[in-house]
């Protein structure tokens, strides 16, 4: 595993997420997020999860973010729509709290013995391995997710429908 790739992808991911949360313009934010999704897919490739990496691009960048940008364009936001109220105290408190959470998590994680990754077994992360597990051990979860998607579709249709009051 090449450490340079890890650091490059990690830097891009974090940088783009930081840029996104400081953005006011949702399209710029969405583009930053797409770049960070791509570098996350790169990290998944480094972790030998090729299938998940492709799914990451297909689902997140190709479907979810297209939907986001579609909605942003659909709303046709003007400059004055993008102005939102600011609360400096609130932001400061949030910064402190999330900094504390990072510190806590890092301290907890470093309690794990610093072992590097073992050699991966043959066929790790391939479509076959994932598929056979999905339709045996996780088949109920798979069905439930299917049901959830159906509920999601119905919910989205109901929400998006124009109401005819009279």
């Amino acid at each position: 595993m090449n450490p340079y790739f890890f650091y490059a992808f990690a830097t891009i991911t974090v940088l783009m997420v930081v840029l996104m949360i400081l953005q006011k313009n949702p399209i710029t934010g969405a583009m930053c997020l797409i770049v960070s999704f791509f570098s996350l897919a790169g990290l998944y490739v480094l972790l030998e999860a090729h299938f998940i990496a492709v799914l990451q691009i297909l689902v997140y960048a190709g479907a979810i973010m297209v939907l986001f940008i579609f909605v942003i364009m659909f709303l046709n936001l003007k400059k004055e729509d993008l102005k939102t109220g600011r609360r400096p105290f609130y932001q400061f408190a949030a910064l402190i709290a999330s900094g504390a959470l990072v510190t806590f998590l890092v301290v907890q994680y470093t309690k794990i013995p610093p072992v590097s990754f073992p050699e991966s077994v043959a066929g790790f992360g391939t479509v076959e391995a994932i598929g056979s597990l999905m339709f045996s051990k996780y088949v109920i979860a798979f069905e439930v997710i299917g049901l959830l998607l159906l509920v999601g579709i119905i919910g989205a249709v109901l929400l998006g429908k124009k109401e005819n009051h009279d």
């Binding site: 399209i27 710029t28 583009m31 797409i34 090729h50 299938f51 492709v54 799914l55 691009i57 297909l58 960048a61 190709g62 479907a63 297209v66 939907l67 940008i69 579609f70 942003i72 364009m73 659909f74 046709n76 391939t126 479509v127």
Partner: protein, 422 residues
């Protein structure tokens, strides 16, 4: 060190050649589109651009167009979002080119103790990678539509994104039945398993999936009858209304690049990819000298016949300018080349080929078969564009969601039943 250098060269070539192929295909397709539309509409088509009086049936026109577009003034309107306005055409073109990297051009061949695959990246989930990358192409169009800050461009971008999301579903579902037959997501396996027999190719085996996939591919590449994002009768020019010069031409090139990729994908999945009809890779490899000999004989005969035919057509004063000499420019070299090949064959006779050379000949033949199939598929795209009118937006959505999506799902069930039956 030497093997390392060889490895480096092979990888570089694998990365460069797909781009080169796409860039060669684009002017060729532009020419084919203009000449094809002229043929369908019964008019001569482009034939004015000339170099030293040689017109080449309008083949000079793409180069003239390229020169014109490069030297035009590059206008960036004042109301646009500059960064995304400039970025959008680059995204459109680069995404289109990256997709080509996983397409297999020929059968993997034994080479220097290892296996040389004619595919830049043989990834485990090749089909999914292509679906993911084609869905990235929409970002270029959407960003162009948004950054132009123009209502027509915005409407074009909106239409494009909605269309892309809708048709991606039927495209993915149509591919599933192909994957079920092949039992693999790797494109090279899908091609290998189709075999050399045309009757075993997926478009015979699974015609419904083929139809759905081709229709969805038309929608994904924004070609007529689904070219609503740039429908010029309603939206001026759609998402590239505000673009000019090289930036416009990048969108234009991206459209053709997408067409090449869609054709390559259709050919790979449904029309046997690099498989030469009725000529198995192994049979071809063992009998390469035999096939090569008779192919060269046939080629020589064709050259001589064609060249003679062209040379006969030469008549001074037919047009009264240098166009008179066009038949001769092609005819005489063709005759000479044909005769030369013939003499060479007679002198050399049938000679046995070393194994390496046979492998290379097979690979080259397969690459050209594949490219020829892709060109034919591109012609289908052009043919449909100049035959079928653009459909209305609600019809587009109805077709995608209410007709093709259920049909694609039904096809998966049918495939499953057929697989159980066998």
């Amino acid at each position: 060190m030497d093997t390392q250098l060889l490895h480096f060269i092979i990888v570089t070539l694998k990365l460069v050649i797909p781009f080169a192929i796409i860039l060669t295909f684009i002017p060729l397709l532009v020419w084919l589109e203009r000449k094809g539309s002229a043929f369908i509409q019964d008019r001569p088509g482009p034939n004015r651009a000339a170099i030293m009086g040689i017109r080449l049936c309008g083949l000079i026109h793409p180069f003239a167009d390229a020169m014109k577009l490069m030297f035009k003034e590059d206008i960036i309107p004042s109301q646009v979002h500059k960064f995304f306005y400039v970025l959008a055409p680059f995204i459109a073109l680069s995404v289109a080119s990256v997709t080509f990297l996983v397409i297999p051009f020929a059968a993997p061949m034994p080479f220097g103790g290892g296996v040389l695959s004619f595919q830049a990246a043989n990834i485990n989930a090749g089909v999914l990678y292509i679906l993911a990358m084609t869905s990235m192409g929409v970002f270029g169009i959407m960003l162009a539509g948004w950054a132009s800050n123009n209502k027509f461009a915005r409407l074009g971008g909106l239409r494009s994104s909605a269309q892309m999301i809708s048709y991606e579903l039927s495209m993915g579902l149509a591919v599933i039945s192909v994957i079920m037959w092949a039992g693999s997501l790797a494109l090279n396996d899908i091609v290998s398993l189709q075999g050399a027999n045309i009757l075993r190719w997926n478009f015979i085996y699974d015609p419904l999936a083929c139809l759905i996939f081709i229709t969805a591919a038309f929608a994904e590449t924004n070609r007529t009858p689904f070219d609503l994002p740039e429908g010029e009768s309603e939206l001026v020019a759609g998402y590239h209304t505000e673009y000019s010069s090289m930036k416009f031409s990048m969108f234009f090139m991206a459209e053709y690049a997408n067409m090449v990729i869609a054709s390559a994908l259709i050919v790979t999945l449904f029309f046997g990819g690099w498989q030469i009809p009725f000529l198995d890779t192994n049979t071809f490899r063992t009998n390469a000298d035999y096939y090569l000999y008779y192919f060269l004989v046939a080629a020589a005969v064709c050259c001589v016949i064609l060249g003679t035919f062209l040379s006969i057509k030469f008549k001074k004063g037919r047009f009264g300018d240098k166009r008179d000499y066009e038949p001769l420019v092609f005819g005489v070299p063709a005759v000479v080349a044909g005769l030369a090949i013939f003499c060479l064959l007679v002198v050399l006779g049938r000679f046995p080929l070393p194994l390496e050379a046979a492998n290379w000949i097979v690979a080259v033949c397969q690459i050209f078969t594949f490219l020829f199939k892709v060109l034919l598929m591109c012609w289908v795209f052009i043919w449909v564009r100049w035959t079928v009118p653009r459909i209305r937006y609600d019809q587009l959505m109805d077709l995608g969601w209410k007709f093709m999506l259920p049909l694609a799902m039904l096809n998966i069930v049918i495939t499953a039943v057929r697989m159980l039956w066998q």
